[in-house]
C-alpha cells in the first residue's frame, strides 16, 4: 500500500468515524441524563436523510435550504419522540422506557416503509462535493471526504462549548448526576431533557444527511446498522461522555476501514469488528474509555 492510498483510507476512516461519533453523541447525551438507550436514535438519523432527499431532490430546494429544513424537521421529530414515548414514562421503571424505545424504533421504520415505500432511492450528489482535488504527491481527495469530519468536529466542538460554558449545559451535566437536586436549584428539568433530545436529533440529522451523500441513497432501514454501531461507539468511549462518544466513533471508523484496507480477505467480517470491540471493552473496561465512576462521599 503506498502513501497515496493510505491517505485516502485515512480520510475515509475519519469520515466514517466522525459520522458514527455524531450519532453516538446523541445516544450518550440521552443516556447520561435519563439512563435510557434511545433505540429510536438510528431512525431519527434515517429521517434526517429522507427529509433532505425530499427537500432537495423532490422539491428542488437549494442544498443549504434543504439541509436546514431537514435538520429542523428531524429535531421536531426527536422532540416528539421524547414527548410522546418517553416523557409519560419518566416516573416508571427504566425497563418500561426501554421497551417504549424499541417500540418507537419499529414504529418509525415501518411508518417510513408505508410513507416512503421500501424502495431505496438514489441521492443526487452536488457535483461541487464530488469533484476530486489533486494534492501534491498524487493524492486525490473528494471535498465531501474532508467536509464530513470538519462539520462533525465543529458541531461536537460547539456541543462541548454548550455543555461546559453555558447555563443550560451546566444544568444538563447536573441532571445527569442528580435530577432532584437540580430541580431544587430552579432548573425546569423537562426543558433540559428536551434540549438534550433536540440537540441529539439535530446532530443525528446532520449525520444522516452526510451519510446519504456518502452512500448516495436513502431507505427506511438505513438507520439500523449505523445506529447500532454508533451505540457501540458510545459504549466504547464511555456512555455518558460526549468526547468519549466522538473518540469511540473514530476508533470504530478506523477499525472498520483499516481492517478491510490491510486485510481485504476480511471484508466480509467488517461489521463483526464493531461487536468484537464491544465485547472487548465490556470484558476489560466496562465503563468505556472515558467513562468513570465517581465515588460518593458521605
Amino acid at each position: 500500500m503506498n502513501l497515496n492510498i493510505f491517505i485516502q483510507h485515512f480520510i475515509n476512516a475519519l469520515s466514517l468515524g466522525s459520522l458514527y461519533g455524531l450519532v453516538a453523541v446523541g445516544y450518550t447525551m440521552v443516556y447520561g441524563i435519563l439512563r435510557l438507550i434511545n433505540f429510536a436514535h438510528g431512525d431519527i438519523f434515517m429521517l434526517g436523510a429522507y427529509f433532505v432527499y425530499f427537500a432537495t431532490i423532490v422539491y428542488h430546494l437549494p442544498w443549504a435550504v434543504g439541509v436546514i429544513t431537514a435538520v429542523i424537521l428531524t429535531t421536531i421529530c426527536g422532540l416528539l419522540v421524547d414527548r410522546i414515548a418517553y416523557k409519560p414514562l419518566r416516573e416508571a421503571p427504566r425497563i418500561s422506557a426501554l421497551i417504549s424505545a424499541i417500540g418507537v424504533s419499529f414504529f418509525i421504520e415501518n411508518f417510513a416503509v408505508v410513507v416512503f415505500t421500501g424502495m431505496p432511492r438514489p441521492v443526487v450528489q452536488p457535483p461541487i462535493l464530488m469533484k476530486p482535488i489533486e494534492f501534491s504527491g498524487g493524492v486525490r481527495l473528494i471535498p465531501l471526504g474532508i467536509l464530513v469530519p470538519v462539520v462533525a468536529f465543529v458541531l461536537v466542538g460547539g456541543l462541548m462549548w454548550l455543555l461546559y460554558c453555558t447555563k443550560p449545559g451546566l444544568a444538563m451535566r447536573a441532571i445527569s448526576f442528580d435530577i432532584e437536586t437540580t430541580r431544587m436549584m430552579g432548573v425546569s428539568v423537562n426543558k433540559i431533557i428536551a434540549l438534550a433530545f433536540g440537540l441529539g436529533s439535530a446532530l443525528a440529522a446532520v449525520a444522516g444527511i452526510m451519510w446519504a451523500l456518502r452512500y448516495p441513497r436513502v431507505e427506511p432501514f438505513m438507520g439500523m446498522t449505523p445506529g447500532i454501531k454508533a451505540f457501540i461507539a458510545a459504549v466504547f468511549g464511555g456512555i455518558g461522555s460526549v468526547p468519549g462518544a466522538m473518540i469511540g466513533g473514530l476508533i470504530l471508523g478506523f477499525v472498520e476501514i483499516m481492517s478491510v484496507a490491510f486485510f481485504p480477505t476480511l471484508s466480509g467480517y467488517k461489521d463483526a469488528f464493531a461487536f468484537l470491540l464491544l465485547i472487548m471493552i465490556l470484558l476489560f473496561r466496562p465503563t468505556g474509555l472515558l467513562g468513570e465512576k465517581l465515588e460518593d462521599k458521605i
Binding site: 447555563k167 451546566l170 444544568a171 451535566r173 447536573a174 448526576f177 442528580d178 432532584e180 437536586t181 437540580t182 430541580r183 431544587m184 436549584m185 430552579g186 432548573v187 425546569s188 428539568v189 465517581l294 465515588e295 460518593d296 462521599k297 458521605i298
Partner: protein, 242 residues
C-alpha cells in the same frame, strides 16, 4: 408579618402516613426550627414545602416580601419555589460531586440572570465560607463533609432566597464545625433572611431559633419560643438528654 402559613399538612408514602395534620407558621425575619427524633417526619415537612413530595394541606401559602403578594405553593414544582424566593439546602448536602465548587454555586443561581448580582453573591458566599474560595476549582466530591455542608448552604443562598430552608445542616459534622455552622445561620438571619431549620441537634437548634415546633411521629406536639422549649422538662427529657 407571616411569610409561610401551613394548615393541616399531610404526607403519605404509600400506606405510611409520615406527616399528620401539621400546621405551622413562619414570620418574616425569624429562625424557626422543627425538631424531633429520627423518623418524626421533619424532612418530609420540609420536602413537602419545597414541592419535592406529594402532599395535601388545607393551606400552604407563601407571602413574598418582594411584592407582598400571597400565593398558594401547594402542588407547585420545586423549580417554581426557587423563582419566588424559597430555597432548600437538602439533607445529606446533595453536592454534585463531578461539578466544581464554583459550578455548584453557579447552579444555585440558575434562575437569575443578573450576572453582576450573581458575582456579588458568590463573593458573599466566599466571605461566609473562605474554605470554599480556596477550593473553588476543586470538584465538589473531593471536599470534606464539613466543606460540602458549607457548599450546600452557600448554593442555597445563591438564588438570593427570602426563605432559606436548611435540612439537618449539622448532620455528621464535628462539634466545633456545628458551632460554626450555627453561627453562620444566625449571621445569615441577621442579614434579613428568614430561616426554617430542621434539626436533630435540638440543643443547638433551640439556642439559635426564635421559635420552634416539636414533631413526634408525624404531628406537632409542642411549640413555643426557643428559650421556652429549652427549659421545657418534656423537651429536656426527650431531646436534650435530661
Amino acid at each position: 408579618m407571616s411569610m409561610l402559613k401551613i394548615e393541616n399538612l399531610n404526607v403519605n408514602y404509600g400506606a405510611i402516613h409520615a406527616v399528620r395534620d401539621v400546621s405551622l407558621e413562619i414570620n418574616k425575619g425569624e429562625i424557626v426550627t422543627l425538631i424531633g427524633a429520627n423518623g418524626a417526619g421533619k424532612s418530609s415537612v420540609i420536602r413537602a414545602i419545597m414541592g419535592l413530595v406529594k402532599s395535601k394541606a388545607d393551606q400552604m401559602s407563601y407571602t413574598s416580601p418582594r411584592d407582598g403578594k400571597t400565593v398558594s405553593i401547594l402542588g407547585k414544582p420545586a423549580e417554581e419555589h426557587v423563582k419566588i424566593g424559597i430555597s432548600l439546602s437538602p439533607e445529606g448536602r446533595r453536592i454534585l460531586p463531578h461539578l466544581t465548587v464554583e459550578e455548584n454555586l453557579t447552579l444555585g443561581a440558575y434562575t437569575r440572570s443578573d450576572s453582576n448580582g450573581i458575582a456579588d453573591d458568590m463573593e458573599y458566599v466566599y466571605t461566609l465560607f473562605p474554605r470554599l474560595k480556596e477550593r473553588h476549582r476543586q470538584k465538589g466530591g473531593t471536599l470534606s463533609g464539613g466543606e460540602q455542608q458549607m457548599l450546600a448552604v452557600g448554593r442555597a443562598l445563591m438564588s438570593r432566597p427570602d426563605l432559606l430552608m436548611l435540612d439537618e445542616p449539622s448532620l455528621g459534622l464535628a462539634p466545633v464545625l456545628v458551632d460554626e455552622v450555627f453561627g453562620i445561620i444566625r449571621e445569615i438571619n441577621a442579614q434579613g433572611r428568614t430561616i426554617l431549620l430542621v434539626e436533630q441537634n435540638a440543643f443547638a437548634a433551640l439556642k439559635a431559633a426564635h421559635r420552634a415546633y416539636v414533631l413526634e411521629v408525624g404531628t406537632v406536639n409542642l411549640s413555643g419560643t426557643g428559650a421556652e422549649l429549652l427549659n421545657n422538662p418534656k423537651v429536656r427529657a426527650a431531646y436534650l438528654g435530661g
